[in-house]
Symmetry: C2
Subunit: 82 residues, 2 copies
Protein backbone atom coordinates (compact mmCIF):
# COMPACT_ATOMS: atom_id res chain seq x y z
CA UNK A 1 0.00 0.00 0.00
CA UNK A 2 1.38 3.39 -0.99
CA UNK A 3 0.51 6.98 -0.07
CA UNK A 4 -0.52 9.56 -2.65
CA UNK A 5 -1.10 13.29 -2.83
CA UNK A 6 -3.12 14.52 -5.76
CA UNK A 7 -3.98 17.98 -6.94
CA UNK A 8 -7.09 19.30 -8.68
CA UNK A 9 -7.50 22.69 -10.32
CA UNK A 10 -10.64 24.66 -11.08
CA UNK A 11 -12.45 24.51 -7.73
CA UNK A 12 -12.64 28.32 -7.49
CA UNK A 13 -15.39 29.49 -5.14
CA UNK A 14 -16.37 25.97 -4.13
CA UNK A 15 -18.06 25.78 -0.72
CA UNK A 16 -17.48 23.42 2.18
CA UNK A 17 -20.73 21.58 1.34
CA UNK A 18 -19.71 21.18 -2.29
CA UNK A 19 -16.27 19.88 -1.32
CA UNK A 20 -17.86 17.43 1.11
CA UNK A 21 -20.16 16.22 -1.68
CA UNK A 22 -17.27 15.75 -4.13
CA UNK A 23 -15.22 13.96 -1.46
CA UNK A 24 -18.17 11.72 -0.60
CA UNK A 25 -18.41 10.69 -4.26
CA UNK A 26 -14.84 9.36 -3.93
CA UNK A 27 -15.56 7.66 -0.60
CA UNK A 28 -18.64 5.93 -2.03
CA UNK A 29 -16.60 4.01 -4.62
CA UNK A 30 -13.04 3.98 -3.24
CA UNK A 31 -13.31 0.40 -1.94
CA UNK A 32 -13.75 -0.91 -5.47
CA UNK A 33 -10.11 -0.02 -6.14
CA UNK A 34 -8.71 -0.57 -2.64
CA UNK A 35 -8.15 3.18 -2.24
CA UNK A 36 -8.74 5.13 0.96
CA UNK A 37 -9.01 8.92 0.85
CA UNK A 38 -7.85 10.34 4.16
CA UNK A 39 -8.26 14.09 3.83
CA UNK A 40 -8.96 16.77 1.24
CA UNK A 41 -8.00 20.45 1.49
CA UNK A 42 -9.42 23.25 -0.66
CA UNK A 43 -8.22 26.76 -1.40
CA UNK A 44 -11.39 28.28 -2.90
CA UNK A 45 -9.46 31.36 -4.03
CA UNK A 46 -6.99 29.56 -6.32
CA UNK A 47 -9.31 26.61 -6.89
CA UNK A 48 -6.70 24.05 -5.80
CA UNK A 49 -7.74 20.87 -4.03
CA UNK A 50 -5.19 18.52 -2.44
CA UNK A 51 -6.21 14.95 -1.59
CA UNK A 52 -4.20 12.57 0.59
CA UNK A 53 -4.89 8.89 0.03
CA UNK A 54 -3.52 5.40 0.35
CA UNK A 55 -3.97 2.71 -2.25
CA UNK A 56 -2.37 0.09 -4.46
CA UNK A 57 -1.31 2.42 -7.31
CA UNK A 58 -1.46 5.89 -8.81
CA UNK A 59 -3.77 4.53 -11.53
CA UNK A 60 -6.23 3.28 -8.92
CA UNK A 61 -6.44 6.76 -7.38
CA UNK A 62 -6.90 8.31 -10.83
CA UNK A 63 -9.68 5.86 -11.70
CA UNK A 64 -11.65 6.67 -8.53
CA UNK A 65 -11.37 10.42 -9.13
CA UNK A 66 -12.35 10.00 -12.77
CA UNK A 67 -15.40 7.84 -11.99
CA UNK A 68 -16.42 10.27 -9.22
CA UNK A 69 -16.49 13.06 -11.79
CA UNK A 70 -13.35 15.02 -10.97
CA UNK A 71 -10.45 13.53 -12.93
CA UNK A 72 -6.87 14.69 -12.44
CA UNK A 73 -3.54 13.58 -13.85
CA UNK A 74 -1.63 15.26 -11.00
CA UNK A 75 -1.19 12.26 -8.70
CA UNK A 76 2.08 11.89 -6.81
CA UNK A 77 3.30 8.86 -4.90
CA UNK A 78 4.65 10.43 -1.71
CA UNK A 79 6.88 7.62 -0.50
CA UNK A 80 8.78 9.77 2.01
CA UNK A 81 7.27 11.70 4.90
CA UNK A 82 8.68 14.04 7.55
Amino acid sequence: MATFMDVHDGFVGVTEAQLAEAHQADLDIQATEGVHFERAWLDPESGKVFCLSTGPSKDAVMRIHERAGHPTDQVYEVSVEA
Copy 2:
Protein backbone atom coordinates in the same frame (compact mmCIF):
# COMPACT_ATOMS: atom_id res chain seq x y z
CA MET B 1 -4.72 31.04 12.51
CA ALA B 2 -5.07 29.61 9.02
CA THR B 3 -4.03 26.34 7.38
CA PHE B 4 -1.73 26.20 4.38
CA MET B 5 -0.53 23.67 1.85
CA ASP B 6 2.62 24.56 -0.02
CA VAL B 7 4.40 22.86 -2.88
CA HIS B 8 8.12 22.66 -3.70
CA ASP B 9 9.63 21.40 -6.94
CA GLY B 10 13.11 20.09 -7.62
CA PHE B 11 13.50 17.53 -4.82
CA VAL B 12 14.21 14.70 -7.27
CA GLY B 13 16.07 11.79 -5.67
CA VAL B 14 16.00 13.35 -2.20
CA THR B 15 16.24 10.80 0.63
CA GLU B 16 14.25 10.48 3.83
CA ALA B 17 17.23 11.83 5.82
CA GLN B 18 17.58 14.82 3.52
CA LEU B 19 13.86 15.60 3.74
CA ALA B 20 14.03 15.32 7.54
CA GLU B 21 16.97 17.75 7.55
CA ALA B 22 15.15 20.26 5.31
CA HIS B 23 11.99 19.95 7.43
CA GLN B 24 14.02 20.41 10.63
CA ALA B 25 15.42 23.67 9.23
CA ASP B 26 11.82 24.92 9.05
CA LEU B 27 10.97 23.65 12.53
CA ASP B 28 14.03 25.35 14.01
CA ILE B 29 12.82 28.82 13.04
CA GLN B 30 9.04 28.46 12.58
CA ALA B 31 8.23 29.97 15.98
CA THR B 32 9.73 33.30 14.95
CA GLU B 33 6.79 33.74 12.54
CA GLY B 34 4.13 31.89 14.54
CA VAL B 35 4.08 29.11 11.94
CA HIS B 36 3.75 25.40 12.73
CA PHE B 37 4.65 22.82 10.10
CA GLU B 38 2.59 19.68 10.66
CA ARG B 39 3.69 17.26 7.96
CA ALA B 40 5.74 17.12 4.76
CA TRP B 41 5.36 14.56 1.98
CA LEU B 42 7.92 13.91 -0.78
CA ASP B 43 7.65 12.20 -4.14
CA PRO B 44 11.35 11.70 -4.93
CA GLU B 45 10.53 10.68 -8.51
CA SER B 46 8.81 13.93 -9.56
CA GLY B 47 10.67 16.00 -6.96
CA LYS B 48 7.45 17.43 -5.47
CA VAL B 49 7.24 18.21 -1.76
CA PHE B 50 3.93 19.12 -0.09
CA CYS B 51 3.97 20.81 3.33
CA LEU B 52 0.95 21.25 5.58
CA SER B 53 1.18 24.09 8.08
CA THR B 54 -0.76 26.49 10.23
CA GLY B 55 0.18 30.10 10.71
CA PRO B 56 -0.90 33.72 10.62
CA SER B 57 -0.43 34.29 6.87
CA LYS B 58 0.83 32.94 3.56
CA ASP B 59 3.72 35.41 3.73
CA ALA B 60 4.81 34.05 7.12
CA VAL B 61 4.99 30.53 5.67
CA MET B 62 6.94 31.80 2.66
CA ARG B 63 9.41 33.66 4.88
CA ILE B 64 10.18 30.55 6.96
CA HIS B 65 10.75 28.43 3.86
CA GLU B 66 12.93 31.12 2.31
CA ARG B 67 15.07 31.57 5.44
CA ALA B 68 15.38 27.77 5.79
CA GLY B 69 16.86 27.64 2.30
CA HIS B 70 13.99 26.21 0.24
CA PRO B 71 11.82 29.09 -0.96
CA THR B 72 8.55 28.53 -2.81
CA ASP B 73 5.85 30.83 -4.12
CA GLN B 74 3.31 27.98 -4.30
CA VAL B 75 1.57 28.51 -0.95
CA TYR B 76 -2.19 27.96 -0.75
CA GLU B 77 -4.50 28.88 2.09
CA VAL B 78 -6.66 25.78 2.41
CA SER B 79 -9.59 27.23 4.30
CA VAL B 80 -11.91 24.29 3.61
CA GLU B 81 -11.30 20.67 4.55
CA ALA B 82 -13.17 17.43 3.99
